[in-house]
């Protein structure tokens, strides 16, 4: 027999064992119904015909006869890029469990993608490197009331679960006088502070999200406020919102975001004369925890007609620059941007700022705390484990700052100056990423946050199957298999809007119960902002860094 000529193998060809996700297919179970190929939005599988060689021997002695058959099969497509993302839609729709994606830990995608395409990989989701472990999971609520003070009853007692959004004046600056009846009276105006639920639905734009998904979130928020009684607010994200909503009473539940691209703001400004309610707040976005120092990016393929309409732009890649072009310092931003946003709504609407957590966060917060005009209504700090719709993978995985210690630093910086609570602290970046929003929020509040905001979790509630282990993360492609981050009508139709809204509402109801189940054991009926004495950790480094009790 001739030796096989190994030279016929082209080693630089991409093969299945190079890929991150491999399709495991069992032809014996397959009925060739075709659902998997129809469901795959990434065009990662296709029908093929394979040749089968059958060898048969029927006599007492070996007397093989060979026949050839052709068998239709489902096969993975192998390309230089745009391969299977492991979303599992094929598995979901297969009636016979004949097909599924399997993660290939020996994949060479990081090398191949760059080498083949001269292109930095882009994706959505959040950091996929698990180098440090989750700090919040190392912290327990360990100061449980036993004999010295009683635990409360989560089901019977009442709890005041609210957080301030807006500039809070120091007590001595409150414009109060005592009248002849011994009552305090206001003698001057003061910044407006809104009391809202301590969990804000984070800024995800129409455009990044499908309009239907965004609508589902808005519906859930309206329901939570008007029926359930939880004053949950959502942030629009950069990209405006439908005119109809801007002119509706539901605007009061919306925090309008302005970012460096100013997308959507000409529509917002035009709608102002017709607004019947003020928005809940304005959030100036400077940076994003998932990709700090990087701008926003909405691929042209997602800029469909209605997105063009809302944002007031033509169809093209929409890039928000990494910084606000007109700002060059903290003081100047306070004077220029905060002042103009405050005055736009005649100082009735709190204006806050969102920055990516950074080594410099404390300096920024300190500067804002000195805000002489009392117009900085909140400091939103976003950590590395936050999500995004589109970014270069290198930014997602390798830039950013964990949120926990930086939030703590900012709180303690305020304490050091006796200014805690004056500019409310809101923290995000992986809050609730394990599905345990209440516990994460509670621990952050004990460390000094007034509240938290969360985005990616909301998508997961809606049915996003992406995770932090390389699964899907294809929000940037416009091909979201569950209809959440796409503008493709067929895909969006996969999303049951009412069901999404219902699940978000349910999740918040459950979270509210869980917050009470955490408040009650430590005997608190209002939020324990800065109650770090309630926290313990078995990790000495965490204890030292956060100044909480080390236990073992």
């Amino acid at each position: 027999m001739e030796p096989i000529d190994t030279r016929i193998i082209k080693t630089n060809d991409i093969s299945k064992n190079d890929l991150k996700w491999q399709i495991e297919y069992n032809p014996q179970r397959c009925t060739l119904c075709g659902k998997c190929c129809a469901a795959c939005t990434f065009n990662a599988i296709e029908f093929k015909v394979e040749r089968r060689r059958r060898v048969k021997s029927t006599g007492a002695l070996p007397k093989p006869s060979v026949t050839w058959e052709s068998e239709p099969v489902v096969k993975q497509i192998i390309r230089k890029n745009k391969n299977c993302v492991g979303c599992g839609m094929c598995q979901k729709v297969c009636p016979n469990e004949a097909i599924k994606p399997v993660y290939n830990e020996h994949n060479r995608v990081n090398v191949i993608h760059r080498a083949e395409n001269a292109e930095s990989p882009k994706r959505g989701g959040r950091t996929n490197l698990h180098t440090e472990g989750r700090t919040l999971d190392k912290i327990k609520i360990g100061r449980i009331s036993q004999m010295t003070d009683p635990s409360l009853d989560a089901m019977r007692h009442t709890f005041d679960i609210l957080a301030p959004f807006g500039r809070v004046l120091p007590p001595e600056k409150l414009p109060f006088t005592v009248d002849e009846n011994g009552d305090l009276q206001m003698t001057d105006s003061a910044p407006n502070t809104r009391w809202i639920y301590p969990i804000i639905i984070g800024d995800m734009s129409i455009g990044a999200l499908s309009t239907r998904m965004w609508e589902a979130v808005a519906m859930a928020v309206a329901y939570l406020n008007e029926v359930v009684g939880l004053p949950v607010r959502m942030c629009s994200g950069e990209g405006g919102m439908p005119l109809k909503l801007l002119k509706s009473k539901y605007l009061k539940y919306m925090i309008l975001q302005i970012a460096s691209g100013h997308f959507g703001w000409d529509r917002i400004i035009n709608a102002m004369p017709d607004m019947v309610e003020d928005p809940a707040g304005i959030l100036i976005k400077i940076g994003q925890g998932a990709k700090p120092g990087d701008g926003g990016l909405l691929m042209a393929k997602k800029v469909v007609r209605h997105i063009q309409e809302i944002r007031g732009v033509p169809k093209s890649d929409l890039l928000s620059p990494p910084n606000h072009q007109g700002l060059y310092s903290i003081e100047e931003s306070v004077q220029k941007m905060f002042l103009s946003m405050n005055s736009a709504f005649k100082f009735r609407v709190p204006v806050a700022i969102k920055v990516a957590a950074s080594v410099t966060s404390v300096s920024v917060y300190n500067n804002l705390l000195r805000d002489p005009y009392n117009i900085v209504g909140g400091f939103f700090l976003d950590g590395i484990a936050g999500g995004t719709g589109a970014a270069h993978e290198v930014s997602l995985d390798h830039t950013g700052h964990p949120i926990v210690s930086r939030l703590r630093d900012c709180y303690l910086a305020a304490v050091h100056q006796g200014k805690q609570g004056q500019i409310p602290l809101w923290a995000a970046g992986g809050i609730g990423m394990n599905g345990t929003l209440a516990a994460d929020a509670f621990k952050m509040i004990c460390l000094g946050a007034n509240g938290v905001f969360t985005g990616k979790l909301i998508l997961q509630i809606a049915g996003c199957i992406g995770n932090d282990y390389g699964r899907c993360n294809a929000c940037n492609t416009g091909l979201c298999p569950v209809g959440i981050t796409t503008q493709n009508k067929t895909l969006v139709d996969r999303l049951d809007v009412d069901k999404v809204a219902q699940n978000i509402v349910n999740y918040f109801i459950a979270t509210d119960t869980e917050l009470k189940k955490l408040l009650a054991p430590i005997g608190n009926s209002s939020l324990p902002v800065g109650r770090s004495d309630a926290l313990v950790t078995v990790d000495k480094n965490v204890a030292t860094r956060l100044d909480i009790q080390h236990v073992c």
Binding site: S145, T148, D149, P150, L152, H157, T158, D160, L162, P164, V168, L169, P170, P171, E172, L174, F176, V178, G182, D183, L184, Q185, M186, A190, T193, W195, V415, Q417, G418, Q420, G421, I522, G523, N524, S525, S526, P528, V529, G530, R531, S532, D533
Partner: protein, 369 residues
């Protein structure tokens, strides 16, 4: 659990009344100490109402240190009184200091025409200086330096402390119209004299039965508010500092103390006419809110005595009255002991949103938050 008590009377009362008040409640405390504050003094102090009195427990060396400091500032001692302690009785459960000092001083000459605020600042600064000096030398404790106020804090069994200081025998030299007392050293922190209730600052006295679970956030906030807010040996000191801050520094009427420590729920605030004021208090003074079970008794500089409690009413307190005396204390047994013949139907068991306030004519008002 602590037991706390306060007596306010039209007559001058001897501290033995406070001992009797607390003794009947002794099952509720561990008999680990006795501390009291006397205000609106009679007896030998009656004629010195305007002049500061130093209350101090110290060693001989501590005396020297304090005298030097006071002298250097210009204070002139014009009267002193010391309890007749019973060193001769053995076996008492008490850890006495060598000297117990109650001295009346004249202000320095330069303060003769000084406004009240300057005098008050001087007294506070002087007390802090004395406390720091004695603390550094470990030679004693300075409890108060303020007009018309005496304070004593001691470690041991209250009965034995009473015996040691001769407090069981009524004595017309040593009496006051307002006495607040407590019979326990705190359990959460070290047993040190400063940690015992009542706490006193610039005419304000406060004592509490309970646990302030917002101690950490109260403390971190208060530390930056006023130089008199020091020590924090007990979570209950936070009540005193908040009372002082709201009423003396911010100059808000007393009723707003309740709005600061136990703000109304948001929805309830919204339904009120003063919603805007209350929401601003809730936001700006969020770090002075208290949580956990507490009942508080306090005295303000004008002699007003009041009690209030946490927002869930998790600790007891009761108010009883006769024609010339009002008692506020943790358990009714204490009131029964001192006022067996009163009309018990007039006893008040305050609710979670109330302040019960007693003025100098012993009129009792119930303020609903």
């Amino acid at each position: 659990m602590c037991r706390i008590g306060a007596i306010k009377s039209k007559r001058y009362l001897h501290p033995s009344k406070a001992l009797e008040l607390m003794r009947s409640q002794q099952k509720g405390h561990d008999n680990s100490g006795f501390a009291f504050v006397m205000q609106d003094l009679g007896g030998v102090f009656e004629n010195y109402k305007e002049l500061p009195i130093l209350s101090m427990a110290c060693t001989n060396e501590g005396m020297h240190i304090a005298e030097d400091i006071l002298h250097s500032i210009g204070f002139v001692r014009i009267m002193q009184w010391a309890p007749d302690v019973r060193n001769d009785i053995t076996g008492l459960n008490i850890e006495p200091m060598p000297n117990y000092v109650f001295q009346v001083f004249n202000y320095p000459h330069s303060y003769k025409y000084a406004p009240q605020e300057e005098k008050e600042a001087l007294l506070l600064n002087t007390r802090l200086k004395l406390r720091k000096a004695l603390e550094q030398a470990d030679e004693g404790y300075v409890y108060s330096f303020w007009p018309d106020v005496l304070m004593l804090k001691e470690i041991g069994d209250p009965r034995d402390i009473g015996t040691y200081f001769g407090l069981w025998q009524e004595n017309k030299d040593f009496c006051a119209k307002i006495i607040t007392a407590q019979c326990r050293q705190n359990t959460n922190y070290d047993i040190v004299r400063y940690a015992a209730h009542p706490f006193f600052l610039q005419g304000y006295t406060a004592l509490a039965n309970g646990e302030n679970t917002f101690y950490e956030k109260n403390k971190l906030f208060q530390k930056k508010l006023h130089k008199g807010y020091i020590g924090f040996e007990s979570d209950s000191q936070c009540f005193l500092y908040t009372l002082h801050y709201v009423n003396k520094i911010l100059k808000w009427p007393l009723k707003y103390f309740k709005h600061v420590i136990t703000p109304l729920p948001y929805d309830e605030i919204l339904s009120r006419k003063d919603a805007e004021i209350l929401l601003r208090i809730k936001a700006s003074l969020a770090h002075l809110e208290v949580n956990g079970p507490n009942s508080i008794i306090a005295v303000t500089p004008d002699g007003t005595l009041f009690t209030t409690c946490d927002s869930k009413k998790l600790r007891p307190v009761v108010v009883g009255k006769t024609d010339d005396t009002v008692i506020i204390t943790s358990e009714v047994t204490g009131i029964n002991e001192l006022m067996p013949d009163r009309d018990i139907s007039q006893d008040i068991y305050p609710n979670e949103r109330e302040m019960v306030v007693v003025d100098n004519d012993l009129n009792i008002e119930r303020w609903n938050q």
